[in-house]
Amino acid sequence: MIDLGPHAVFIIWAYVGSAIAVAGLVGAVLLDARRVSRRLTTLETQGVRRRSDNH
């Protein structure tokens, strides 16, 4: 590992904080996608269809 000098703590926390925020953002987007996907699957298994799907 390179020597980050006397201000290493600021550099490390900038990257760690960014990594946590990016991971949280990716997780939130994927979780939302999964939740909506389950909601759609439930509706479709209940036999609810759009009018355009019936033709």
């Binding site: 000098g5 600021f10 550099i11 925020a21 909506v36 479709e44 269809r49 009018r51």
Partner: protein
């Protein structure tokens, strides 16, 4: 003439129809994820192992590789939202409000990260985490605008009506973007003026410019991936809401 009109209609309907949009953008998602991952790996390698320290700032220059991309995205995402807002108000484009809604939380996080990394860079460089100067204050205002827009989306049950109100609010808020951009020129500020995109060329040496551009593209591609995925989810959410309304109507 008729051929031109037909091809134009074909292109427009492909973009405008949510189902078609999903169909042609879905295959793009994984290649974009791959490009983003490669850019981050190479960018982080350059940021930590293949770039020198700055002659003035020393090793803290490495904070720039996460600060500048987030600062750029904080404004770029808002410009995407403002263009989408025009699409909602002027053309009533079916995907415009989907794009607007999907971008807001992403913009808020990138803006928060720009402020956070800026504060961590400011302490060793300027001796303070925060200063109420033009650039920092206008970026904080941008974060508050993003949070206001997210709150507005949640306040409305009718998402089509919400889109019109939020589109107007977004366009009014867009006045803040040139204020952020030119604040370093208009007012006396701790924040340095532009050093990359300048009429006379960048003032940064290539050894620092290369990791900066790699991280800049890594974060930009990350935004593209997340925006696309969030748009797909929003389209599916609206389909689910439509089905729920239909089911409720059938029961009534």
């Amino acid at each position: 003439m008729s051929i031109d009109t037909k091809s134009r209609q074909g292109w427009f309907s492909r973009i405008a129809h949510p189902g078609q949009f999903m169909a042609w953008t879905q295959p793009l998602l994984w290649p974009l994820v791959g490009i983003t991952a490669v850019l981050f790996v190479v960018g982080l390698y350059y940021a930590f192992f293949n770039s020198p320290e700055d002659y003035q700032m020393g090793e803290t220059v490495r904070i720039m590789y996460v600060h500048v991309p987030n600062a750029w995205l904080s404004q770029f995402v808002y410009v995407i939202m403002a263009v989408s807002a025009l699409g909602t108000l002027v053309w009533r484009h079916p995907l415009a409000d989907v794009s607007m809604k999907a971008a807001a939380p992403l913009g808020a996080v990138f803006t928060a990260l720009a402020l956070y990394t800026g504060a961590l860079w400011g302490r060793p460089t300027w001796g303070t985490f925060w200063e109420w100067d033009g650039r920092m204050t206008s970026t904080l205002v941008l974060l508050l605008i993003y949070l206001g827009i997210i709150a507005l989306w949640r306040a409305f049950d009718d998402q089509l009506r919400a889109a019109r109100v939020i589109a107007v609010f977004t366009l009014v808020g867009a006045v803040n973007i040139p204020i952020i951009k030119f604040s370093v020129d208009w007012w006396s500020t701790l924040h340095q003026p532009a050093s990359v995109f300048r009429p006379d060329g960048p003032t940064i040496p290539p050894s620092i410019l290369i990791p900066l551009f790699l991280m800049f593209f890594a974060f930009t591609f990350l935004f593209l991936v997340l925006h696309l995925k969030a748009m797909h989810t929003e389209i599916r959410r609206r389909k689910a809401m439509g089905l729920e309304r239909r089911a409720a109507g059938a029961l009534a």
